[in-house]
Amino acid sequence: MLPTAILPLIILLIGSYVAYIMGRLEYRYSKKHLASYTALYFFIFALLAQIYFAFTVWNGAPLSYIIGGSTLQMDSLAVFLSIIALILGTIVCLYSIVYMAHDKGQEYYYTLLLLMVTGIIGIGLATDLLVLYLFFELMAIPSYALVTFRRHERMAIEAGMKYIIMSAVGSILAFFGISLIYLQTGTLSYSSMIGLLGNSFYYQCALVFLIIGFGVKAAIVPLHTWLPDAHSAAPSGISAMLSGIVIGAGFFTMLRTLLLFNAHSMPVGQILIVFALFTMTVGNLMAFVQLTHAKADLKRLLAYSSVAQMGYIVLGVGVGLAYGIRTGYEGGLFHIMTHAFMKGLAFLCAGAIIHQLGTRYVDDIKGLGFSMKVTGFALTLSLLSLAGIPPLSGFMSEWLVFSGSIMTFSMIGWWGIAIAAIALINALISLGYYLPVIRILYSTAENKKVRAVRDPSFAMMLAMGILAVLVIVLGIWPELGLRVIKPAVDSLMIIGGW
């Protein structure tokens, strides 16, 4: 059979090899940008292939490919994840052409980037637990190396160290959970188990290990402590990828495994809701604190903001899992999409600031919005979108999460209102760290350097521009994104038996 299901995967895999070779050739013949352009072409190719096949899947026919004993299946959830990953990957690759131009190790960077996205796509395609774990690691390992890419930076090494250790622990715990499931069911394939794992001591333990294990990667509080360091120390393109899609993919992995459990007899969704509330609150408070520091780091602020936004995602999906509230699923998945774009944009802008001005501190960017007009405007857009302000995309996705959470009113009464109130108050607190950054961007520049700096070069601006357009368009015409999500939500509802 034709490997259409895994075509994007294969394209990126081949691309990673080719990019490495081109990278070495770059060294040999002292050329520039060979690896980066190669990677970009492969990304675009994979994206186009994915979109093309997406239509087949959306019309109701998932594509499969059998390798050995396992099937790789492109269903609507897989399409959802890989489209976001590929769009973000392409844009980050485009951005990195300029941003990483002066770094040594070009051949590693693009190879690792391609492999990371391959892993993410593979997570979507997996139909059994081992392959899922395999692709999860395929995503994780390049990300470790990418966080520590600039080896001479002490912060990066420290961050990478924390990230690897915590992530490895998480992976082991998750793997243990998988093995417990295997112990009880004797199989690893989803289709035989989905929605069936019910009340038994082993399954409960498995649930604990899976949530904690994958939760480390999904940056759920209190497992999130690696994130602020890793996301702020990584090169900005990688920060965008990490915050944008890697933690989303971590949660996606968790979701795939959680779907195996019977949500009616196990409090899977409810647990997610509780964790989500912790995550939101801690993320927002910590981000709020960042601005009280003497040297407030913009990337660290955005990293904590990612933790808070993950809270919204987990809340939306948790509500859907627990009570079958469709709007919750829609909100959670749509927020994965919009967060990828808006947080990606925010980090790319922060990177542009670091690239042009050489500083990452909020105090140093006073008045930057007037010199770096495009970057300033794009950063403003992303921050307003993150705060959930219409007509930007963050509004609709956050709104869907809130409405999903309050629809639990009919099932759990006042608790539903309390959940929604906590989420909304968190949205209010988040204004407290988004708006001051905008204010600082557009105040009067005191620093001569700030006045003299200009917007970065075309490739970086194009990357930011595409994301900015997506952020605006998804806000005014959310249908564009919701069209991708609808089939995925349909399948989630069916699995849950709602």
Partner: protein, 607 residues
């Protein structure tokens, strides 16, 4: 009409939004082109909305509903548009005053930079305001409600060189957001209630007309929660106590913005919300009483604060808060107050915009906002003086200006519904209103000149809107006949009865309750008297204390700052839990497992 109504509605939304999008492009052709383009788009919007007026107010049609628009069919989000007299009233105010403000801005904002952003945001604001009142779906209403808030924030902080302005913008945004949280919870609760009791899908349950028609089927508990939550949203947006603190600070905005957003339109959105949903919540016990008291107390407190304020724009800001309190008070009298409150909304929008634009002309001429540095301007700025005098007397409630008629109607309705004590409070507020208005006029225009420089009269782009608005405040009360007839015609939609009457009948009815007229005019005279006796009052011990309290704003601001400081302090201490030490991080993982096990135990499914 010339154009089909459906087209008019779409154009009313299209012109401003198209304008917003195109202003940056047109700006490439130069500043003048951009300014003219913006003004033209504003006037086109006003024209389109005015064309809707005859059909809805004078015509015989039922509420206009047009084809539902499928905004996001994948989740089932479709919404329709529903136009009734109230919606058209608000839209005409937004479009009309918007266009006058745009014309005024041509000269007023001439010397400022960043005008592309300014005009784009003003047009976005006008479009969002019209969208807010036209749509028939609560979530789309909220969508426009937030956009209006966004424009307000961005325009308050327009002068980027002024740190006060930026902070004021953030303050406005955050304060209104508090109200918006309540509003959002209210929307969801209402939708949830409607879903279960009416068996509707989620998005259908957000349809405003559906909710209004089926009020009796929705459980009272749901209505109660939703009603008070909606009130929270209105309190935030319309700057009522206790969320009034943002409006005086919002005066850092260019005066044109203060006129448009913070006097004539955005702050009226809260009143619109209350008016629109009055039929839904009037049956909730205590809802109307709470609204009435909030309105009354706000009106009174804001009037006291206006009396001691030295900044011209802040006086007008407090005055706006106070008059909005009158409108909320009117609505809080029950469905009978609907006409009076919306009538006052209309007349207030006109004279307050007039006062703000006039203040703008004054500030433009003397380069200060402190009234104690002005004086004697009546000779040098004749047109501004006359128009502001008319506006001020209308605010103070002098017959036969529109402010008198609308305020009197509210007082009369209070009498008729038997709310005598609140009525007394409003009369006292009317006295204070007259007092602070005369104080303002005195400090700015009468007496000796305290300024050395010569103040020039405003150019025509600024004077013409002033004159138009002054004429408006002289005659707008005549529209009462049309307004009530329009409401009466829509009684099916409003679900309560409004008696239509002509202007003559209105005059007769007003003077039938002649004691209210006496109270109104008496309040005006007493206000004058209070003003003339001010020196004696200020020397008095009690006088000094009350002035101090009013100047401190009754410590609302201090209270809120304390809350924020508390949150900050808590966060800084909380931050210590994030040690950055990998060992502690791993303990975090263990803690996570423990929490999970506890949750398992609590939520069931435990072994």
């Amino acid at each position: 009409m010339i154009l089909d109504n459906e087209i008019l509605i779409w154009l009313a939304l299209l012109f401003p939004f198209l304008g917003t999008g195109l202003v940056p492009l047109v700006a490439r052709a130069g500043g003048k082109a951009r300014t003219y383009f913006a003004v033209i788009m504003g006037f086109l919007t006003a024209a389109v909305v005015l064309l809707l007026l005859p059909e809805i107010w004078f015509g015989a049609s039922e509420g206009l509903t047009i084809q539902p628009l499928a905004w996001a069919p994948s989740i089932g989000l479709t919404f329709s548009v529903y136009i009734d007299p109230l919606a058209v009233l608000m839209a005409v105010i937004a479009g009309g005053i918007g266009s006058l403000v745009l014309l005024y801005s041509v000269k007023y904002m001439e010397k400022d930079t960043g005008l592309t952003r300014y005009y784009a945001l003003v047009l976005l604001f006008i479009g969002a305001m019209i969208g807010l009142v036209f749509v028939n779906n609560l979530i789309v209403l909220y969508f426009f409600w937030e956009i209006v808030g966004l424009c307000s924030y961005a325009l308050i902080g327009f002068y980027t060189t002024d740190p006060k302005a930026a902070r004021a913008g953030i303050k406005a945004f955050v304060t209104t957001r508090v109200g918006d949280i309540a509003f959002l919870i209210g929307i969801f609760v209402l939708a949830a209630g409607a879903m279960t009791s009416l068996g509707l899908g989620f998005w259908d349950a957000l349809n405003i007309q559906t909710l209004l028609q089926n009020v009796s089927s929705i459980p009272l508990e749901t209505l109660a929660i939703a009603g008070f939550c909606f009130m929270g949203g209105a309190i935030g947006k319309s700057a009522q106590v206790p969320l009034h603190v943002w409006l005086p600070d919002a005066m850092e905005a260019p005066t044109t913005i203060s006129a448009l957003i913070h006097a004539a339109t955005m702050v009226n959105a809260g009143v619109y919300l209350m008016a629109r949903f009055l039929p839904l919540f009037a049956s909730v016990p205590y809802w109307t009483q709470v609204l009435m008291w909030i309105g009354g107390i706000t009106a009174f407190l804001a009037a006291t604060m206006a009396l001691v304020e030295p900044d011209l724009k802040r006086v007008l800001a407090y005055s706006t808060v106070s008059q909005l309190g009158y409108m909320m008070f009117g609505l809080g009298l029950g469905v009978t107050g609907f006409t009076a409150a919306t009538f006052h909304l209309m007349s207030h929008a006109i004279f307050k915009a007039l006062l703000f634009l006039g203040a703008g002309a004054v500030i433009h001429a003397v380069a200060t906002r402190n009234m104690y540095q002005m004086g004697g301007l009546k000779k040098e700025m004749k047109i501004t003086y006359v128009t502001m005098l008319i506006g001020g007397l209308s605010l103070a409630g002098l017959i036969p200006l529109s402010g008198f008629w609308s305020k009197d109607m509210i007082l009369a309705t209070a009498w008729e519904t038997g709310n005598y004590f609140p009525l007394a409070l409003m009369v006292i507020t009317a006295i204070l209103t007259a007092a602070y208005t005369i104080r303002m006029l005195n400090l700015v225009f009468w007496g000796e000149k305290r300024q050395q420089t010569h103040a020039h009269e405003a150019p025509w782009q600024m004077s013409v809107p002033l004159i138009i608005l002054a004429i408006g405040t002289l005659v707008s009360w005549l529209a009462i006949g049309y307004l009530t007839r329009a409401y009466a015609h829509f009684e099916g939609a409003l679900t309560f009865v409004v008696h239509p009457f002509s202007v003559v009948v209105f005059l007769m009815e007003t003077f039938t309750t002649w004691w209210i007229v006496c109270l109104s005019l008496g309040a005006f005279l007493l206000g004058l008297g209070l003003f003339y006796l001010r020196k004696r009052y200020a020397q008095n011990m009690i006088g000094k204390q009350t002035i101090l309290v009013a100047q401190k704003g009754y410590w609302f601001d201090s209270f809120y700052l304390a809350i924020i400081a508390g949150l900050r302090a808590f966060s800084i201490r909380f931050r210590k839990t994030h040690t950055g030490d990998l060992n502690y991080n791993m303990i975090g993982v263990i803690i996570g497992m423990v929490i999970l096990l506890v949750l398992f135990f609590l939520l069931g499914g435990a072994y």
